[in-house]
Amino acid sequence: MTDCKEIVEHIVEHLRTVIPPGTEISAESRIVADLGLDSLAVMNFVMALEDEFDVSLTMDNLAQVETIGDLARTLAALISRVAE
């Protein structure tokens, strides 16, 4: 699953389990500002994604991530690098 859209859908599905029901969520949602996740919740859910895709995000990678789309693109780039 290296397609960015598929990864976005996967992240959204994952996040729905940790955010209040009814919260609007899309690729443009800002993970902290819009979804209200604290730093610990973000770390836990990013680590779960890292396990699923068998990649490690660096702190620099994470610093560039604001939206779900940003995270999906970062994951897609790492996955494609591993596949090379």
């Binding site: 770390m43 490690s56 591993v82």
Partner: protein, 401 residues
């Protein structure tokens, strides 16, 4: 618009805390009479919130050494270690530390924070990888930010996760520097160092252990978690501080690496700050000797730690996983934590209040700690006060069996 506007949310959170009737960030000790007795706002208190594990701050020999050096060498050095700030005392303490740890060399830094900032940022270069335990102290995170290396976190105290992340780096150039702590400062839990050392060996990585809270506390000779786990030969770099069990201030890094001393010429937090005052150096050196001469201090500390941990555990508090000098009580929310902390202070017991996001699991903590010189009566008094307040607030949820 002000340049400080970005801190408005923090100001609001701080204001909320003060409205609950407490300001744990502005506690001022009117006087301190011993490692365990002080006065706050005119009220005598027992100190159960320090890092003074061996009680050396008031050791007569430690004080006398500092006084003598203050009179002989003056109040400060006014210079960096690489300019006019290295006196015989600084070099002598480095030799003493290296000998204590059985290593070739040691460097002394002005604070423990700077010891991590300096070693981590300098050792891990542009092509290297830093692998940090997710619960690392701020000084480790800040050192990694100052480093040009790529930084990867692994799950707290999880050698399997560390191994997975090292495996993902296979084929990539550069060194891998793993950074862990002997004892973690918030919950007092210990790193599984034997397992981490095994992962390190298998991956051909380099290991740095921060023994800030474990120096003088763990190991047969007080050398820390690596000594206790029997893996000292696997640890290339040991970092530590003088501001906990040694009762002073400053930090160090010690190593067997042959060219270790070259760091003195490229470690910016070592080079561009003034060195420790000679009086502090002398007190710390005497403190290190006391640690070596008086193993009973460490035995008393562990006896006291078990008494405090056992008392609070029996009362039904939710504590950290390991009995040790840091005994943290997990509380459900900030309002209860602040109320608890304030009531405890009024009852004459001072502990640390640790609030998220500085805590490991989003819960506030009452972080208490013991020293080697607390008496049984003092510990029992603290347990009784905490139990009475905890009962009134309805937070005695379960034991730690």
């Amino acid at each position: 618009m002000s340049i400080l506007d970005k801190f408005v949310p923090l100001q609001h959170a701080y204001g909320e805390l003060q409205r609950w009737g407490a300001d744990p960030f502005a506690v001022t000790f009117d006087s301190v009479r011993s490692p365990v007795e002080a006065t706050i706002d005119g009220r005598p208190v027992l100190i159960f919130g320090s890092n003074n594990y061996l009680g050396l701050t008031f050791d007569p020999q430690v004080i006398a050494s500092g006084v003598a050096a203050l009179q002989q060498y003056g109040a400060g050095t006014t210079g960096s270690r690489i300019a006019n700030g290295t006196y015989q005392g600084h070099a002598g303490l480095e030799d003493r530390l290296a000998a204590f740890f059985g290593r070739g060399s040691a460097m002394v830094f002005t604070t423990g924070y700077q010891a991590n900032l300096a070693t981590i940022s300098t050792l891990a270069g542009r092509d290297d990888y830093l692998l940090l335990d997710a619960d690392s102290h701020a000084s480790i995170y800040d050192g990694s930010r100052l480093s040009a290396a790529q930084v990867i976190r692994f799950r707290h105290n999880d050698p399997d996760d560390l191994a997975r992340r090292l495996r993902r780096l296979e084929g990539q150039p550069g060194h891998r520097l793993i950074v862990v702590e002997g004892i973690y400062s918030m919950l007092g839990d210990r790193a599984p160092l034997a397992e981490i050392a095994q992962v390190k060996r298998e991956a051909g990585a380099t290991l740095l252990v921060d023994e800030a809270h474990s120096l003088g506390v763990l190991g047969e000779n007080g050398r820390g978690g690596a000594e206790e786990a029997g893996i000292e030969d696997d640890v290339e770099f040991i970092v530590g501080t003088f501001s906990k069990s040694l009762g002073g201030i400053g930090g160090f890094c010690t190593s067997n690496q042959p060219n270790f001393d070259i760091l003195r010429l490229c470690c910016r937090p070592y080079m561009f700050t003034a060195s420790l005052p000679p009086s502090v150096i002398a007190s710390v050196q005497r403190g290190l000797e006391r640690l070596h001469e008086e193993p009973r201090l460490r035995l008393n500390l562990h006896r006291n730690a078990h008494r405090l941990y056992g008392g609070l555990s029996s009362a039904g508090f939710i504590l950290g996983p390991h009995p040790g000098p840091i005994v943290s009580v997990r509380l459900p929310d900030v309002a209860i934590a602040v109320t608890f902390w304030t009531a405890l202070l009024q009852a004459g017991i001072y502990v640390n209040l640790a609030l998220p996001p500085a805590t490991p699991d989003s819960h506030p903590l009452l972080r208490s700690s013991v020293t080697a010189v607390h008496t049984d009566d003092e510990i029992d008094q603290a347990v009784a006060a905490m139990t009475e307040i905890g009962t009134a607030l309805g937070v005695l949820e379960g034991g730690n069996d």
